[in-house]
């Protein structure tokens, strides 16, 4: 008898900590890291990397931070890419803190981006911090429409099947042992907003008017963390 071949572990099995949901007719997963995973398209989407933030703050006379924040963010991205084996990567805007930041990125960081890009389709969506094309491989688009989903940096009033970032949403839950706050995905029937993926980024509470205005009543939130959690979006 022929022995049964051991089935290879699929990327779906490797990504333990995720929450699956259906959005605009597509089956998607929110990962605990803050990335969005679209298994049918082998597509990974991350938002607001803010690479080069420390370098920019130093240039503008702020506190001097070492430039390792970019490496930290890229290391987490590399982990997600190796877990998912994604063939398409979308960076949803504000990938660089500003245009000079992309030029001033350390050589090691540029090399790591190039290594991550190898063998993948890579799309940079423009953000408000990095509006023009940047000197980096990959396609540069204002927005990208694909299989019923539209990827853009800032949510628009009439967005349908829209995936955006920009706001760095966070959610605070009051449990029986106190309040816990986490970066979170926000989603309703027409749009979703991704949490910031960058290392030194702040956040905006889901209860902020800027977010309650955009999101429809009955919106939900997915808190990032070791075990992502789905909750009705606290308004």
């Amino acid at each position: 008898m022929k022995p049964l071949a051991q089935p290879a572990e699929t990327s779906e099995e490797r990504i333990m900590n995720r929450i699956e949901f259906t959005f605009a007719g597509q089956c998607l997963s929110a990962l605990g890291s803050g990335a969005l995973w679209w298994p049918d398209q082998k597509l990974l989407c991350v938002s607001d990397l803010h690479l080069g933030k420390s370098e920019r703050m130093a240039r503008r006379g702020g506190p001097t931070l070492p430039p390792y924040d970019s490496r930290e963010t890229l290391t987490r991205l590399a982990t997600d890419l190796s877990l998912t084996d994604a063939s398409t990567v979308i960076c949803l805007g504000d990938s660089f803190d500003d245009l000079d930041a992309s030029a001033g990125l350390a050589t090691e960081d540029k090399l790591q981006i190039t290594a991550l890009q190898a063998g993948r389709r890579w799309i940079w969506i423009e953000g408000n911090h990095d509006p023009g094309p940047v000197e980096m491989g990959g396609a540069h688009l204002f927005e990208w429409v694909y299989n019923g989903l539209v990827f853009r940096h800032i949510a628009q009033p009439d967005g349908q099947g829209e995936v955006s970032g920009h706001y760095h949403p966070k959610v605070k839950l009051t449990t029986r042992a106190g309040a816990i706050s986490r970066p979170a995905f926000l989603l309703d029937h027409t749009r979703m907003i991704l949490p910031a993926y960058g290392t030194y980024t702040g956040g905006l509470r889901s209860s902020d008017a800027a977010l309650t205005r955009i999101m429809a009543p009955g919106a939900r939130a997915i808190l990032t963390g070791v075990h992502p959690q789905l909750v009705p979006m606290p308004g």
Partner: protein, 803 residues
């Protein structure tokens, strides 16, 4: 010189004074290279230090600086100046005396460098600053003597290490320099002597007559102390009665917040309108000086104060010292008591007021220790390397130096007598390049080697920045508080930036004894308005929390071993008896752990008696170990004697949690990311010059500085964990805020003698811990479980099904 000049002895006689034996001995030994005088307050200590100087200068032969006097307080330097000018003017001695501190004007300072006085009164920082100028050799030419006042206090901090390095520099400039140390009563005079003397010179110790034993007792109150808290409000009527019976009372507190609250309560009970003042380090300098002046005039009947009055000018008429709260440290208690009754040979009178039930035990133990002259103190470690780094930069600011010569010079400083060449080279390398991970940054490339092998500043302009950031005092980041009103407004004092950040407009807090309402923050100033009609929110601007000393903790454990407690008030003795009946009392060579459920959570109470800081660290490390074992801890709170941990599951076998190697491993890995370690790093990084607090006249806000120092720390931890500053941070973690040294000592003491008692409810000794403030939450699996619970509940409530 063999005899005190007649002019001086005559002046003593006209004052009706005679020369004390220790003053005479100090005079007779004046030619020895180093002398340490141990004398109680009011024993004519300062005069003993200055007599040889006055005698040597009496003939007017000396030109330039003769004697440097260094004190830890600017105010003390000014006060000594006044006291010294009196005999000099009365006798008509040709001696010029000036002080030089942070308060001295720039013109005056400039003139002093060109034309120095005979006697210069200064602080360790101002002295270090003077050695950083290129013309230091000229200014210090011919200096004969240096007098270090309150040396016991300086030896307790890095200010002392810096001072001894500055003295080593001076000794090179003036080889004949003789050193004199003046100290209050200490547990180990030899250690202070080694610290003071030029290594390996001998140092003679002269002990003045300590005078009669102080009269210490517990304050009798009608009400019992509460179970927890530090306010001691219950004792207000009894304290008020004592104030009325005495001329002037000093009321010491351990923290500024406690002092404010007590002062507020005392004022409400002050029906006779007695003049009572408040004095602590957060108050505006003008306010403090007003209180000091009123005190000197004898206008005040009582002063509510903190450690800000531990040292300093002679208050004269204080006839009672009251210590509110456990003294934590016997030596400090004895020194505080010494502030009462400065008339030599009269006993000082002091009363202890425990703030809560446990402190009754601690106060009685401290009282017994004071009566037995059993003083405590941690042995002084070797000089820290962050101070060394700063000294290298100061040396570079003064001009090019040879590494060999600087190394040899540093080793004559007592704290650095055993400095190895490799440790020195590591510090030099750091000063030159910033260390491996930071080598790419110009700002940390500060020294360069010249063709002749000497080291100099890469950019001469850096000297200015080095001088601006000189010093080792780590003041917590504070913001000024002003009344919002007319231009500028009246300054009331300062609060910690973190406290200010927690305020929202409308919140009320106490400062300088008044209730104020927070209005807003404007240009780094907290603006407030007066508000007498509301209960204050507690002011938490009380940086320092002392840990109970090892010796005092041991004494408490010995007291617990007694069959009964006739020396304790009945309510406290009954409480301990009840604990013994329901559970056990902690013992010196065993570790008692209680486990019990309460309100749906499991609790673990660990009676380590290792002091507040170490118990806090133990809480961090144990909850981490519990997390690894899947015991889902939620949080903990620590006091000087115990750590109480709560979580979702009960601990059944504590032994694996207490393995020293696992705890040490936790310190190296997990605790490395903790805020306490970051604070420790920040202090050392600031001293070593990695972080500048002052840049170009503009002070960084604390939060900005914290931000960059935290990120620097994370970066070094990840990419250069053996960086010099990381090594220093780990060394510092053995004491101070982390105090891992005491955890190691505790585990060595108990070995595997751990008693886990499972109780069905909270024990008498653990109960007060529930009321403690400063609870620390633990983020981990318990949080994930709680989030999952809450998420399921919310989804159910919304009629949704989980994904």
């Amino acid at each position: 010189m063999t005899q005190i000049p007649a002019r001086i002895t005559d002046w003593f006689s006209t004052k009706g004074w005679s020369i004390h034996p220790h003053q005479q001995e100090m005079f007779d030994r004046a030619q020895e290279p180093a002398t340490l005088l141990i004398a109680p307050t009011g024993g004519g200590k300062t005069m003993a230090g200055f007599l040889p100087t006055l005698a040597e200068l009496a003939e007017g032969q000396h030109t330039g600086l003769h004697t440097l006097y260094v004190s830890p307080l600017k105010a003390l330097a000014a006060d000594i100046g006044r006291n010294l000018r009196e005999p000099v003017e009365d006798i008509g001695l040709p001696i010029r005396i000036e002080d030089r501190t942070g308060d001295t004007s720039a013109t005056q300072k400039k003139r002093q460098r060109a034309d120095p006085p005979h006697i210069l009164l200064t602080t360790p920082e101002s002295l270090a600053l003077l050695t950083s100028y290129e013309d230091a050799p000229r200014m210090f030419r011919g200096v004969q003597r240096i007098i270090v006042d309150e040396i016991h206090a300086l030896a307790e901090s890095k200010r002392g290490d810096q001072l001894m390095l500055a003295l080593a520099r001076l000794q090179t400039l003036c080889p004949g320099l003789r050193r004199v140390g003046l100290s209050a009563t200490v547990e180990d005079p030899e250690a202070i002597a080694c610290f003071l003397a030029r290594h390996p010179d001998p140092c003679r110790i002269i002990q003045a007559d300590p005078g009669p034993d102080p009269d210490i007792s517990m304050l009798k109150t009608a009400e019992m102390p509460p179970w927890s808290g530090g306010g001691a409000a219950y004792a207000i009527p009894a304290v008020m009665a004592q104030i009325k019976q005495h001329k002037t009372t000093l009321i010491f507190h351990n923290t500024r917040a406690q002092a404010e609250i007590f002062f507020h309560n005392l004022w409400l009970a002050n029906e006779d309108g007695l003049p009572i003042g408040i004095h602590h380090g957060s108050l505006d300098r003008q306010q403090r000086e007003r209180v000091e002046a009123a005190m000197v005039r004898g206008d005040l009947r009582a002063i509510v104060c903190t450690g800000s009055l531990d040292l300093g000018i002679d208050w004269g008429d204080v006839d009672l010292v009251i210590q509110i709260g456990a003294p934590k440290n016997v030596k400090r208690l004895v020194q505080r008591i010494g502030r009462a009754n400065h008339r030599y040979n009269a006993p000082s009178k002091a009363l202890l007021v425990p703030a809560n039930r446990f402190e009754v035990v601690e106060c009685v133990a401290a009282l017994e220790a004071a009566q037995a002259h059993d003083l405590d103190g941690e042995p002084r470690g070797t000089g820290p390397r962050d101070v060394l780094c700063q000294h290298i930069l100061i040396a570079a600011a003064a001009g090019p130096f040879e590494a060999d010569a600087l190394y040899a010079e540093m080793r004559v400083a007592g704290p650095y007598a055993h400095l190895t060449r490799s440790a020195f080279d590591a510090c030099l390398e750091f000063c030159a390049t910033g260390g491996y991970a930071l080598r790419a940054y110009d700002r940390w490339q500060r020294l360069q080697q010249r063709p002749d092998g000497t080291w100099q500043l890469r950019d001469p302009r850096a000297a200015q920045r080095i001088r601006m950031n000189l010093g080792t005092i780590q003041d917590t980041d504070t913001l000024k508080v002003r009344l919002k009103r007319s231009r500028g407004g009246k300054p009331l004092g300062e609060v910690e930036e973190a406290f200010a950040a927690s305020l929202t407009p409308g919140d009320t807090f106490l400062i300088g004894g008044q209730i104020v309402r927070y209005e807003g923050l404007r240009e780094m100033v907290v603006e407030v308005s007066r508000r007498a009609d509301r209960k204050p929110r507690i002011a938490t601007f009380s940086g320092t929390k002392f840990a109970t000393s090892t010796q005092l903790s041991d004494r408490i454990l010995r007291m617990f071993a007694q069959p009964d407690w006739p020396q304790l008030p009945r309510h406290t003795a009954e409480w301990l008896a009840l604990q013994r009946e329901i559970s056990q009392l902690p013992q010196a060579d065993r570790l008692l752990i209680e486990s019990f459920p309460d309100r749906g959570r499991e609790h673990l109470c660990v009676y380590g008696f290792a002091g507040r800081n170490a118990q806090q660290t133990l809480g961090l490390l144990l909850t981490k170990r519990m997390e690894e074992e899947g015991l889902a801890p939620l949080g903990f709170v620590a006091t000087d004697y115990a750590t109480l941990i709560w979580g979702l599951d009960a601990v059944t076998d504590p032994r694996p949690l207490f393995r020293l190697d696992a705890l040490r491993d936790g310190l190296e890995t997990w605790l490395a990311g903790n805020a306490v370690m970051k604070r420790t790093f920040r202090a050392s990084a600031t001293i070593a010059g990695l972080i500048e607090r002052n840049t170009g006249g503009q002070r960084k806000s604390g939060r900005q500085a914290t931000f960059s120092s935290d990120i620097l720390y994370d970066t070094l931890l990840k990419y250069d964990p053996d960086h010099l500053l990381m090594q220093i941070t780990r060394e510092e973690a053995m004491r101070g805020l982390v105090d891992f040294g005491r955890i190691e000592a505790m585990i060595a003491r108990i070995e595997d003698r751990i008693d886990l008692l499972r109780l069905d409810r909270v024990s008498p000794l653990a109960a007060p811990l529930f009321l403690e403030v400063g609870k620390v939450p633990v983020k981990g699996e318990a949080e994930e479980r709680l989030l999952a619970e809450e998420s399921a509940r919310l989804l159910r409530a919304a009629g949704l099904s989980p994904a």
